[in-house]
């Protein structure tokens, strides 16, 4: 699974990296972010692209799997 580690990055980098990964990946993409608003932004982006997300909280933030 393609992984984007955007933990600790400032906005809008997490969303830019996610968009880039979605463009090039065929299968699911795993995104790691630190902040709640970044989590929501990533989920929103996935929804806009017609994809499903599963999110779980991890020690260092959130892990979102987009498929």
């Amino acid at each position: 699974m393609k992984e984007v580690d955007a933990r600790g990055l400032s906005c809008p980098e997490p969303i830019m990296l996610t968009a880039e990964a979605l463009k090039s990946a065929n299968g699911p993409v795993k995104v790691l972010v630190s902040e709640p608003h970044q989590k929501t932004n990533v989920e929103k982006l996935a929804k806009d692209r017609g994809k499903k997300t599963t999110t779980k909280e991890i020690d260092t933030g959130f892990e979102i799997v987009i498929e």
Partner: protein
């Protein structure tokens, strides 16, 4: 509760923030300054004696309120996170650039919107520069600009700035800090109202992710109008307020509103602000909010704002506003100063150097 999951809620948050600004202006804050972050940080820097401009010294409770509002709401909603380590010194410089650009234009992006809502055409001219600056910063982001990762730190680190600002507030209330007896610094709403206004504004801005640079950046980058909706709310409320109070005056060179009509320098001042704000990840307001929710990196940017404000008044970089000469009745046009012009050019060059030397692939 999220405010940023629907555009309607975001617009409501913007409207509420606009109401706070309007109420504070009604109860004594300088009319179309209402809730200017750059002006208020500058006043606070003056109250601490960091500069000696006697007309702009006052420990604005709004600034303490904003940071505390963001702090309390983020703790309550478990969004508080103490972080640091994403190129702090570069952020410090960006904070200085944001303040210098703001004081050459005479207002931060929030005040630009407030001035636009009062019919001040200079602010509409400056908006062009602001959009171009944000666009340049966005271009750098697309080219891989990054200030690198922040990391979790001890919980206490993120609380330092909020605590320092409580200290400033207490000292100010006790009358131990400098306070202007004339000029904009002497005009203010009652302390308790300013503090409450700041708390409410800060909490709403935290929940709505309000950011003036981000609003335009997201439109350019992703055709996303969410953040711009919040700003639209502030604009509409202030427009109604100005119309109702008879303070809506369309024109350039309007005396008494602390603005000048040197178009090139209004544009370049806000160009520097827009550019630096995108590189720093947010406008001055957003920096205060991020600092409140635990980011030491944003807190360092805020310190850059303070030092930038001190430099502006110590070295004569801040512009003068168009004013009415009380004795002769003549309108004296405000202007950017020669030193301010040089400073803005240096600031823009510095932004370009920062924007195109800090690349994501270099970040480990």
């Amino acid at each position: 509760m999220n405010l940023y999951d629907s555009r309607k809620k975001l617009a409501v948050a913007g409207v509420l923030c606009g109401v706070v600004a309007a109420v504070l202006a009604y109860f004594g804050n300088p009319a179309n300054m209402a809730f200017c972050i750059a002006c208020f940080v500058r006043d606070m820097a003056g109250s601490l004696g960091m500069h000696q401009a006697e007309v702009v010294q006052y420990a604005r409770p709004e600034i303490t309120g904003l940071v505390l509002g963001a702090f309390f709401i983020s703790v309550a909603t478990k969004e508080y996170r103490s972080t640091a380590g994403s190129s702090p010194m570069i952020r410090f410089i960006l904070g200085m650039v944001i303040m210098i650009g703001s004081l050459v234009f005479l207002g931060c992006p929030l005040r630009m919107v407030i001035r636009m809502s009062a019919g001040d055409l200079n602010a509409w001219v400056a908006l062009v520069g602001f959009i171009l600056g944000v666009a340049t910063g966005t271009f750098a982001l697309k080219k891989g600009f990054s200030l690198g990762r922040s990391h979790d730190t001890g919980k206490e680190s993120g609380a330092v700035l909020p605590i320092l600002l409580i200290g400033v507030l207490v000292l100010g209330v006790m009358g131990l800090l400098k306070a202007s007896e004339a000029g904009p610094g002497s005009m203010h709403a009652p302390i308790i109202l300013s503090l409450l206004g700041g708390l409410v504004f800060g909490a709403l801005a935290q929940k709505a992710r309000m950011c003036f640079a981000g609003g335009i950046r997201d439109v350019i980058l992703m055709k996303n109008f969410d953040l711009l909706t919040v700003i639209g709310g502030v604009f509409v409320v202030m427009l109604v307020f100005n119309l109702a109070m008879g303070k809506f005056v369309v024109g350039f060179d309007t005396p008494g509103i602390i603005a000048h009509s040197e178009h090139l320098w209004n544009i370049l001042g806000m160009y520097a602000v827009g550019f630096a704000a995108v590189l720093a990840g947010g406008c001055p307001l957003r920096q205060l909010i991020l600092a409140g929710q635990g980011s030491s990196d944003a807190a360092v940017t805020v310190l850059g704002l303070f030092v930038g404000a001190a430099l502006c008044h110590n070295l004569g970089l801040a512009s003068s506003g168009t004013a009415l000469n009380a004795e002769t009745g003549e309108v004296v046009a405000g202007a950017a100063t020669p030193a301010g012009k040089i400073a803005v050019i240096i600031c823009i060059i510095v932004c370009f150097i920062i924007a195109f030397t800090n690349k994501r692939e270099n970040v480990k």
